[in-house]
């Protein structure tokens, strides 16, 4: 049986969509960069204080997964059959720059441990796995640009592991004015849903991206 996309989400710094439908989060209230993600967090009624300790890249990935998994049942029970596979272009550069600034001057060199821990992009996948008790493969790949084909290929590799029943496959990018997360819940034996093909992934991504312009 072919793999299929059960649900997908898309988040920027001013809107959030699930399955192509925009969520009613008032972007106008977001006065500072990153505020929209906090508004979205609160609108979802999540109680997870660690969210506020995450860097923006992890917040993006975390919220994209929450939008997809919030109605899944059961939740928060250990799952060895769910993998998390992420891609982006700029790795963790947005946080790397922040860390670099804190160690730039010898006379005021106070690197923040809580910033430093986010100077690896795969922390995003880890945060999602920890929150949801997902014990399957977690991986993060840095590539030249958005590629539906590559996302499909890397997520499909996870299904080579016979125990993998589902994959959270995502593009999570944040740097230089761009904040974007596009995530899909792909199931091995989905009875319904959108076929997991490069054409469909590209179409979903482009359609949701269009709503942001």
């Amino acid at each position: 049986m072919p793999q299929s996309i059960k649900r997908y989400s898309y988040i920027t710094d001013r809107l959030a969509l699930v399955d192509g439908k925009t969520l009613p989060v008032a972007a106008a209230e977001a006065t500072e960069e990153g505020n929209f993600l906090t508004l979205l967090y609160r609108s979802l009624g999540i109680d997870y204080p660690k969210f506020f300790k995450m860097d923006s890249l992890s917040k993006l990935g975390f919220l994209a997964s929450e939008l997809i998994l919030k109605d899944e049942s059961p939740r928060f029970t250990p799952r060895e059959d769910v993998a998390v596979v992420c891609l982006n272009r700029s790795s963790s550069l947005s946080t790397d720059v922040q860390h670099q600034a804190s160690i730039q001057h010898e006379d005021s060199c106070y690197p923040s441990p809580s910033v430093f821990v986010y100077t690896l992009p795969n922390i995003v996948a880890g945060e999602i796995a920890i929150r949801n008790k997902l014990l399957g493969e977690t991986s993060f790949y840095v590539c030249r640009e958005w590629s539906a084909q590559l996302l499909l290929r890397m997520a499909s590799l996870s299904f080579c592991d016979a125990c993998t029943r589902a994959v959270l496959a995502a593009w999570v990018e944040r740097f230089d004015g761009v904040s974007e997360a596009f995530m899909m819940l792909v199931e091995r034996d989905g009875l319904s849903g959108i076929p997991f093909s490069a054409e469909h992934v590209e179409m979903l991504y482009q359609n949701t991206k269009t709503q942001n312009t």
Binding site: T38, P49, F52, K53, Y110, P111, S112, P113, S114, V117
Partner: protein
């Protein structure tokens, strides 16, 4: 001392991003780790940086953090006795 305790609470909330915590909800004698504020090991490192950056106290032995970070009051008393800023 009370002024230092309040200042410390505000700084901890800020550096540890305790978004939903207010100074008045942190008990002076409540444990910072475990059942109290529920801080973790990264938070402990952040507190060590806070002590050095804000108060000029360099904790040579991080293991001492266990006793110094027992509560806000214990931490404030240590800062009061050892601060260089």
């Amino acid at each position: 001392m009370e002024e230092l305790i309040l200042q410390l609470k505000q700084e901890i909330i800020k550096v540890l991003n305790l978004e939903d915590v207010k100074p008045e909800t942190i008990a002076d004698d409540a444990p910072l780790f475990g059942d109290g504020l529920g801080l973790d090991s990264i938070d402990a490192l952040e507190l060590i940086v806070l002590m050095e950056k804000t108060y000029g106290i360099k904790l040579e032995d991080p293991a001492r953090g266990r006793e110094i970070f027992k509560s806000i009051r214990v931490m404030a008393e240590y800062i009061h006795a050892n601060r260089r800023k």
